[in-house]
Symmetry: C2
């Protein structure tokens, strides 16, 4: 039995998650800490290196050896240079050579990917994407991330530093404003931000003047989870916001399936826990908006690895790079 | 010097175009006749076989040999079965085993592709797509066709019988009706039909009550070329229709570049002759709607092979299949 192990790390705006993974995709150990971005990039590097050293010791105690490290980082990354180009939620890391510095600190090979691509690689390896040749992945969180697995490989396009930015596909040019500065992006309809902004706009325009969502907004406690709970209890604005989310997801997937000639999608991320609130309008719109594909043959799967997907995918990347 | 030649055929709703092509992509001879679809599928096969036999004789007279034939057919095709699944402009061919029957008639290998994919292969081989690894192609005609060249190869997705149907990407869910039954497809904004339908709607709704476009419609002489001529002379509705075309093309390309992480497009087809009328609004919208890509690095090329693109691409397919 091979004694090689790999470390996968998911570096998000809030949490830093690691996994110690073998070549079969089994997770031997996982850790979670805060990213601590407020202390600056060198502090993040130290925290990251400390987490990796802990896992390396655990591997040694088990007479195994960590072969390489994979990082999934929320943002635009430069694979060749090993640096973070731009991360909206980890802005102090912008321009910081995180992967390169980790190589120097630990003396191990380090590869870096966008966190949503890491999610896709994880789900492709051991999750809902297993055995599917071509699929589109979405992570519904604060924003909407995307990943494309084409011909069984992670699609990286022209290596422009972004790809599969499905959250910024424009589904409705007359739609609500998006954090990116445009209008009507998928993210402006189908993210935690979109849900909260929908409530804010209803209050601002006077269409919502009372009720639980109004109170939550006023007390600063409005979250996508609270919008979900309101939708479950039948509150009309919350229900309408999830209907709109499902509509936008159905529209985006219909166009993607038409353009790519494919029929599989995997949806994950924190907001995907509200599955029961958006999946029916998603399917309704997908059926109505598919001119080429027989929508009944489409497969929309829920991601199944949860928070393990990105660290696992990052470890897979380290594993596959080390075999090249 | 190799004496192998290949025949490429473009079978459209009106014309049947052939090209006798060598392995370097040089066209030795070309023919054009009407498809004659009104006489039924067997008559189309005969006409096709006759055109191929003529080219085979020309090849023999030159001491060369036709090795294989490639067909580009306007419609949904079954590559494996060698049959036409559904062709809106060649409906008598629906379900007809055109490629299989041509094999039996001529005793040569025959491969079949969608005509827009053949266009893409032709432009990739000898036209505006040469040397570009990843690009999206559009043909603006009666409808809007699409093709994707990814990693230097024709993208065929899950082999569902369609792919790169960019004309049926929904750019505006509140937009005008499309021939496919949906609303707001790219084709409903950026095709010859969209131009003519725009004039019809303006007359129906009473916003156009006189002028050259009104007269052309009434006399049954309205064509996309006449809308173009009116736009060139400054007619406001014609200008607005081309502005809308450019806007929709810019929006579709912005979303495609965002989703695929690529930056090259090639635009051909009869309506692309109206380039001067839609290219400025296309660029304006592309710049305004690109959140990830620096739009200044985008490259939008005009197809350069004209009617030769599809026969050449079909011949390329025959050539590349014969080498496998």
């Amino acid at each position: 039995m091979d004694s090689s192990l790999f470390i996968g790390v998911d570096i998000g705006g809030t949490h830093l998650r690691t996994a110690l993974v073998d070549e079969t995709g089994q997770i031997h150990h996982r850790t979670r800490t805060t990213t601590g971005i407020e202390a600056g990039p060198d502090a993040v590097l130290e925290r990251l290196a400390a987490a990796c050293r802990d896992l390396m010791k655990l591997a040694e105690a088990d007479h195994k050896h960590v072969h390489a490290i994979g990082l999934g980082v929320a943002g635009k990354i430069d694979r060749i240079d090993g640096s973070v180009v731009f991360s909206p939620h980890l802005q102090p890391l912008n321009g910081y050579p995180l992967a390169r510095n980790l190589v120097q600190t630990l003396g191990l090979p380090v590869v870096m990917e966008n966190d949503c691509n890491a999610f896709g690689l994880g789900e492709a390896w051991k999750g809902s994407g297993q055995g599917i040749e071509n699929w589109v992945g979405l992570t519904l969180g604060t924003g909407v991330g995307g990943v494309l697995i084409l011909s069984g490989q992670l699609w990286t396009g022209d290596n422009l530093g972004f790809e599969a930015e499905i959250g910024h596909m424009i589904v409705d040019p007359h739609g609500p404003p998006c954090a990116c500065g445009l209008r009507g992006c998928l993210e402006a309809h189908a993210s935690a931000s979109a849900l909260c902004n929908g409530v804010k706009r209803a209050v601002q325009t006077g269409t919502l003047e009372s009720g639980p969502l109004f109170d939550l907004l006023r007390s600063g406690q409005l979250t996508s989870e609270s919008v979900y709970r309101c939708a479950r209890s039948g509150e009309s604005l919350a229900t309408a916001l999830f209907q709109r989310m499902g509509w936008a997801l159905g529209l985006a997937l219909a166009s993607l399936f038409t353009v790519l000639g494919i029929r599989h999608a995997v949806i994950g991320g924190g907001v995907s826990h509200a599955w029961d609130q958006f999946i029916d309008p998603l399917w309704k719109t997908l059926r109505q908006s598919s001119s080429m594909l027989d929508a009944e043959t489409a497969v929309i799967r829920r991601a199944k690895l949860g928070d393990d997907a990105a660290p696992l995918g990052a470890a897979y990347l380290a594993f596959s790079e080390s075999r090249r």
